[in-house]
Subunit: 330 residues, 2 copies
Amino acid sequence: MSLLTIGSIAFDSIKTPFGKISKTLGGSASYISLSAKNFTAVSIIAVVGKNFTDKYQRILKGVNTKGIEKTSGKTFQWGGEYGFDLNSRKTLYTKLGVFADFKPKLNEHHRNTKYIFLGNIHPKLQLDVLKQIKKPKLVGLDTMNLWIKTAHKDLLNVIKQIDVLIINDEEARQLSKENNLLKSAKKILRMMNDKNSTLIIKQGEHGLLMFINNNLSLRRTTAAKQSKNKIAALPSVARNDMQIFNLPGFPLENVVDPTGAGDSFAGGFMGYLAKADNISYKSLKKACAYGTITASFCIEKFGTKALENLTDKHIQKRYKKYKQLTRFNI
Amino acid sequence: MSLLTIGSIAFDSIKTPFGKISKTLGGSASYISLSAKNFTAVSIIAVVGKNFTDKYQRILKGVNTKGIEKTSGKTFQWGGEYGFDLNSRKTLYTKLGVFADFKPKLNEHHRNTKYIFLGNIHPKLQLDVLKQIKKPKLVGLDTMNLWIKTAHKDLLNVIKQIDVLIINDEEARQLSKENNLLKSAKKILRMMNDKNSTLIIKQGEHGLLMFINNNLSLRRTTAAKQSKNKIAALPSVARNDMQIFNLPGFPLENVVDPTGAGDSFAGGFMGYLAKADNISYKSLKKACAYGTITASFCIEKFGTKALENLTDKHIQKRYKKYKQLTRFNI
């Protein structure tokens, strides 16, 4: 199956202890689609300005960009700087540009997509897109501290209607007002849809925790109900009312720019699920591993540079290493 | 096989956001032995003062305490306080007491032990013990920032003579003067013995990284050379000249006191290896998992409380959960 994503397309200016880069292609939709295209066909819903030239367009080769609207005005811009250990990031500026008045309009092809990822953008835009989808099978969503703070109600509204929420540990703590991540996860799963939500809490270099509500019959749409791919219950690791799955990060020696790591994770995760067209527990775990792998490539070079040349062969090779890296008893 | 450990026995006074406890049994040797005794017979080399009463002695039931010397003077005391998220610790006081003049003397039984863990104590004392061992098969060692700073030469001297170094990420960075943990690991492995050293970097709630030099024929003593248990090479995950293995932490909802977590890890790790009497790569990985499990119990209660009532049944149950928690593709 193919994947549809909405998110930002931006010109990023990034400074890290290892160098800097100016006006490089960035934004959540760019990182998501460049990661996901290694697994399946991807379409983007986004908006750019007149200054989005062919130079940028060419980087998105292999991605269906028919849903990128080009209007008068300037492409979204972001500037950021990372501290010595790459864990602290300072946003220097954010210029919304054409995103300020964006009203996403989906064509028939987009509206029929089954796998949707709502990249980090105002929750109202995420909901605008979701409403136009006919029969989604799996909807993922990313958000950020800004929306948790300034668009709390809209965010709660949209996360009630999705299947997989992908956020980082800080955002989870902020959203749940709980420091302990297990307690935080329980609270967030309650904020999500009734029974079968999945929450992924990214922990940067330390990997991730995935939580799945334990009542594992598929929910949501008729399409989902008709599917054969039920999420299989594995009660053995259930703690109270949820499943937990834990993956470490892929250890890297040379990290130069963490920008886009979270989006690349989402791209690999959703790309794998759409390709497999299977949302069993096993699939979700493999998707987490593929997401970790695409993100690990992303941060080894500046901006989208590493993703531009990424191939399935690279991904499979690292996936195999990763599997061995984390198995303690076979 | 049995395990011999040297380390501190202390009276700890601990304050965390979840409560406090005064003059409870503490010290590295206590946590190590109470964790390891679930796997194999453990002997302690340590010193206590006259105020080490039967009340404390009883807690070490099941541990061979013949190597605990009782002298005039006071038992080592430590006081510490944890911040809100339990990640920051402030040492309020350290009173060395009888440890100031301790000269460990090992009996014949001790000297014949094959599995040795040198708990966190001055490197000179660690070396004093190691010298008295006849034919060690596997020697592990823990240390801390204090010795890295104030006894650097002694520490480098002793880590050249051991097999497994177990430290945390901060200590690894301090010892190697490298921020990136892979680079740090490479440097530290070079500081260790020639070919076949193992380094475990603990990352608190985020789990651990284990690094093994890739030339995996067993080194050290004649005893080791005679052993059938060669560390099996698994070149598939080798990165440059070392193997890497990565485990996430065991997710816990209620952590009340992190004191002793590192020592409990070492106890479970070494206890399992001594019991299995096998130091293959697979054994080392399983030992990491068992260490993670004993540490996870330790921090759920104050001081040694959780370890006092720990049984093999608890450990095996959690080990099984942990295995499922981390497998993404079976």
